[in-house]
Symmetry: C2
DNA sequence: GGAAGTAATGGACTGTGGTCCGGTTACTTC
DNA sequence: GAAGTAACCGGACCACAGTCCATTACTTCC
């Protein structure tokens, strides 16, 4: 049940280092300080008024920092949202890799996929606006993010294990596409489904897709 | 095989009438003229430079019309995109209701769903940027649009017919969610799949979901 | 054909995400 | 401790989506 060397989730690390492949030079002290100030400010404002309803200008102002600094650090709105979610995302990843079944290793693949779904729904339920912000942005940007790659690899492997006949790649993407913030909030608010109903639907989806 | 009174697709009709439920008062002559001018201008510019890469200001200018007029007519960018797609959408709807099998009535439900997918992929292939624009916009707006409702009702009924045991509602939404412009372009450009490969994947999805 | 009433117009205006760059500050080297 | 340099800073700036409302153009009714 070894996972492949799924690139670990960075994202407390500034965007630049993530990009310029060798994050060798250490982060300057003032930069680190400012990053913390921004994260704290964003966290505060988001908690107060909801992740939508807060502009980037306001976050910069609240943090006592220029707008340029904000964007230099986090790239864009989605990047900031990702950084704020980082802790939860690490937790989740940790549970996937080393947690107890059915989320962690040990359970049947289908059960692990359902547990993955349940975990995501839980996260969506408590951090919906933030995750929506992280997934937003031009076109297919979110698919490029290492978090997406990690989730995809996880589901890919489990799907293959559950049913070697299936098109793992496509199935993994379809499953993830059913776990987006946008789709979730449509089911929840647009269709009025409860968290449980959504989970039941997803579980049924998994069973049918990987009936083996 | 009668469809329920699926609200027909309007959308050459201005947004207002769509909303204020009784489109009684006729459209003024200058308004109609301007609408045509805008549609023509948008069509031209989109064809020239791609649907992204054209701002609303430019469309208004090209049409020789004020910005206010543009937005009054079409509500927002997505509304304009919908209006431009209207003809194709009507065509498609017509084929669903009265065309020949497997897209139209007469074929087995699973085959009709696959044909629906094939039709959407075809449209996505030739009008991708436009459809993406129509589906864009804040949060879950696109789910409210009558076109979504019509597609959903169609799939809902076919899914029920194919497999009465399945959760039709959820399945219909999952299927539609696998036919979005965003997901399509991810599979296409992000994963490098061909049109055919995507169709095969979707067909397999349908078979597995509605195995009966 | 003209007056009154109403719908449509257009462009200035606002708010927002994101970029740019001259000036500043923190580390490094000697 | 001074000088050099690369990274960082902030806020002015830009483009763009969408709003507002005083003015204009159509329609209708006499």
């Amino acid at each position: 049940m070894k996972q492949p060397a799924v690139s670990h989730i960075p994202e407390t690390v500034p965007m630049q280092e993530l990009v310029q492949l060798g994050g060798e030079s250490r982060e300057r002290a003032d930069a680190a300080r400012n990053r913390e100030k921004v994260l704290a400010a964003a966290s505060r404002l988001f908690a107060e008024r909801g992740a939508d309803h807060v502009s980037m200008d306001e976050i910069a102002a609240e943090a006592g920092v220029g707008k340029g600094t904000l964007f230099r650090r986090f790239g864009d709105r989605a990047g900031l949202a990702h950084a704020l979610l980082d802790e939860h995302e690490r937790d989740f990843q940790e549970q996937l890799l080393r947690g107890s079944p059915p989320l962690g290793p040990g359970a049947a693949p289908c059960e692990r996929i359902k547990a993955f779904g349940a975990g995501r729904f839980q996260l969506l339920d408590s951090h919906h606006a933030l995750i929506a912000a992280a997934e937003a942005g031009p076109a297919t940007r979110r698919f490029i993010h290492p978090v997406y790659a990690a989730h995809r690899a996880h589901l890919y492997i489990l799907a293959r294990e559950a049913d070697p006949e299936v098109d793992f790649e496509y199935v993994a993407d379809v499953l993830l596409n059913s776990l987006t913030a946008e789709f979730f909030s449509y089911l929840r608010n647009g269709r009025g489904l409860s968290l449980e109903e959504i989970q039941v639907g997803f579980n049924d989806l998994v069973d049918r897709l990987l009936a083996g």
